[in-house]
């Protein structure tokens, strides 16, 4: 406590503590650590970023910048970073930042699509996107060629490329209730689904792309029949009522079934993308296939109500084809009205083998000879009622030995076959005849009745005469009764005469 320091004489002396001190403070470690951490985060960021890609969509519905993810099998592999319209405003160009190590995904045939909630048939997909919003799904291609710009699919693929199985193409005029994901059944087991469908260029038919999973694809042979298995197929036949259905699901949502005719030889499995016809129902599918259909024309001069395209054509009860078209035709010269019916017949069913083993076999000539012979023996086309309730008609070919002479008109195109009036037509004619006779009979009966009426009228001569006759008859009867009474009382009068006279 030195007093020499004038200003603060009573300031106490502090207690000394010896302490070491370094020149450069350790505190400098802190900014170094901070910088290192920052740098590490930055490097990690850069490393975690993959390539940027461009996907072109038709619509960006449900997509959001910075939110919509690109997912592969449920794993997030990228994020949408930008959405803008194309220069022509027709499509949406989306840029996306892919995750690290995704370069190998981005190849030529990699496909992208937007996953939205979809309800198609029995399959409900993308339900999660109801709350989470849409995301972009992808399928990684197997190409080696790298690519950064993609055109998105409009519809998510039902089957992704890595699924084992095979595609087949089904051709059908009517899509029915088919949709993407519609199940395909084999022996009522689901073995595939419809992958996609498109209208053919001419708008006449659909091409349905069907995917059959392995190992069931081996059961599809070139002769396999596919048919619409939607709904319930009720058929009434001579053997009774039969109801054909596929599974309950397919009744509700439709489906496709396939089977191979048991009689067919075992064929190798069909190639991928083989074209099949999709039949209306099982019966149609198992109709012997028309392998050599020919078009013919028959002309009827009778009403054809009940004859519709698709009506069967039978030869002695065997189906040999179907009606293709029914048109009325007026002859402008004679004003005869006739109905032209176009038929498609399979001559094979007549017994001509299309695939003749003999190379010199002339199919056309054979067919011509056959038809000529048949017609000369009395084969004619005739309209018959197939169903009495609905009045549906069909065209029947049969032998009519009594028919007048006719020939096949080979000059026409299509070839015209002779016809004979239908059974119903003949029946109608005779019925009319009967009705006419009946009319005449009735008329004469009425005449008879009329004259009878004239005879028995109250003022007629006949009735007056009848009256007086009857009165006389009753007078006579009375006299007879008196006589009988008298005889009863005086039986002796028969011998002695009247007693009164005797008195």
């Amino acid at each position: 406590m030195s007093e020499s320091d004038g200003s603060f004489p009573r300031a106490p002396e502090s207690r000394a503590v010896s302490r070491k001190r370094t020149r450069l403070s350790l505190v400098w470690l802190i900014p170094i650590v901070a910088a290192a951490a920052g740098a590490w985060v930055a490097v990690a960021r850069v490393l975690s970023e993959g390539p940027e890609i461009t996907i072109v969509f038709q619509s960006a519905e449900g997509l959001e910048t910075g939110k919509t993810k690109i997912e592969y099998n449920g794993v997030e592999v990228g994020l949408v970073t930008g959405i803008r319209l194309s220069d022509d405003h027709k499509s949406v160009i989306t840029t996306a930042r892919m995750g690290p190590k995704t370069e190998s995904f981005l190849v030529e045939n990699t496909r992208f699509w937007v996953v939205r909630p979809r309800i198609s048939g029995a399959t409900v997909s993308g339900l999660g996107t109801l709350v989470s919003g849409a995301y972009i799904g992808m399928e990684i291609g197997d190409s080696k060629k790298s690519r950064r710009r993609f055109d998105a699919l409009e519809v998510p693929p039902v089957v992704t490329g890595d699924e084992p199985g095979r595609f087949f193409v089904l051709k059908t005029g009517d899509l029915g209730s088919l949709d993407n994901g519609t199940p395909i059944y084999f022996r009522r087991m689901k073995v595939g689904e419809v992958a996609s469908y498109e209208l053919e260029g001419d708008g006449q038919a659909f091409r349905v792309k069907a995917f059959v999973y392995a190992p069931y694809d081996q059961y599809v042979s070139p002769d396999t029949r596919f048919w619409h298995a939607s709904g319930v197929d009720v058929s009434l036949s001579a053997s009774g009522l039969s109801v054909q259905t596929q599974s309950l699901v397919s009744i509700l949502i439709g489906g496709i079934a396939f089977a191979t005719p048991a009689s067919d030889p075992v064929l190798p499995a069909a190639e991928e993308n083989t074209l099949f016809t999709l039949f209306e129902d099982r019966a149609a599918a198992f109709h012997p296939a028309a392998r050599d259909p020919q078009t013919y024309l028959v002309v009827f001069d009778q009403p054809v109500r009940g004859l519709e395209p698709g009506a069967p054509v039978e030869f002695r009860g065997i189906p040999i084809g179907e009606v293709v078209d029914v048109i009325g035709k007026l002859d402008t010269v004679t004003f005869d009205f006739a109905v032209q019916v176009t038929l498609r017949l399979d001559a094979q069913r007549f017994g001509i083998q299309a695939q003749g083993s003999d190379p010199g076999f002339d199919l056309v000539a054979a067919r011509r000879k056959l038809l000529d012979t048949l017609v000369s023996r009395g084969v004619r086309a005739q309209l018959r009622t197939g169903n009495l309730l609905s009045g549906a008609l069909y065209v029947a070919f049969d032998f009519f030995p009594d028919a007048g002479p006719a020939t096949v008109d080979w000059s026409q195109k299509p070839v015209q076959l002779p016809t004979t009036p239908g059974q119903l037509q003949a029946l109608e004619a005779s019925a009319a005849r009967i009705v006419r006779n009946l009319d005449r009979t009735l008329a004469s009966a009425r005449g008879t009745l009329d004259s009878a009426t004239t005879l028995i009228e109250p003022n007629s001569v006949l009735s007056q005469q009848l009256n007086s006759t009857l009165q006389e008859v009753s007078g006579a009867a009375r006299a007879v009764r008196l006589f009988a009474d008298y005889l009863e009382r005086h039986p002796e009068a028969l011998i002695r005469g009247k007693s009164g006279e005797a008195k």
Binding site: M1, E13, S14, A16, A35, V41, Y135
Partner: protein
Amino acid sequence: MSAAAVTAMQHGLHSCEDCGLLSRPGSGEQEGRCPRCAAHLEFRKPASLQRTWAFLIAAAVCYVPANVLPVMETTSAQGSESDTILQGVVLLWSPTGWPLSLIVLFASIMIPSAKILTLAYLLITVRRGSIQNNAQRGRLYRTVELIGRWSMVDVFVDAFTVALVQLQPLMSVAPGPGLFFFAAVVVLTMLAVESFDPRLIWDPSSAQEALHV
């Protein structure tokens, strides 16, 4: 400037920061303990400028990732989402929520940056021995010291949200990497303020006056 003509240091005395007792250093020693309350005694905070610089640079370095990286990762049924502080400000900005948005903007973005800039200004002027605006600089320092802790609000809000919003299958919130950097910024700037010795502001002027006297 008028009053503080003479500092304790110029008289070889140091004041106790805890109890305010003026004392003389022990024999030959520069520093020691307060004879009354046994607190550490120093003429000035040791290596004040150096330490403040270090903390300040660290804070500035952390400030960048704090704002660039997401502070909160929300995983809900709608997918996961991560937001940075600025995105949060934008998100909160609405006709009704703009005050909250402004609070976040001030507390989380402007105050930390203002603190860093202010401290840097103070450090530079002290290093250059400036004698101007001493009172203002002192006020600046006190303000920085006062408001610094409020930046921690953001961290707390985040921590609360993370702790409370744990509806596991439906929604969960996790702190993002930016939050740690942000907390580091706040802590580092507070440390920087703490290690800065405001008495250094007046040292040049009193030294000058001592020369002139």
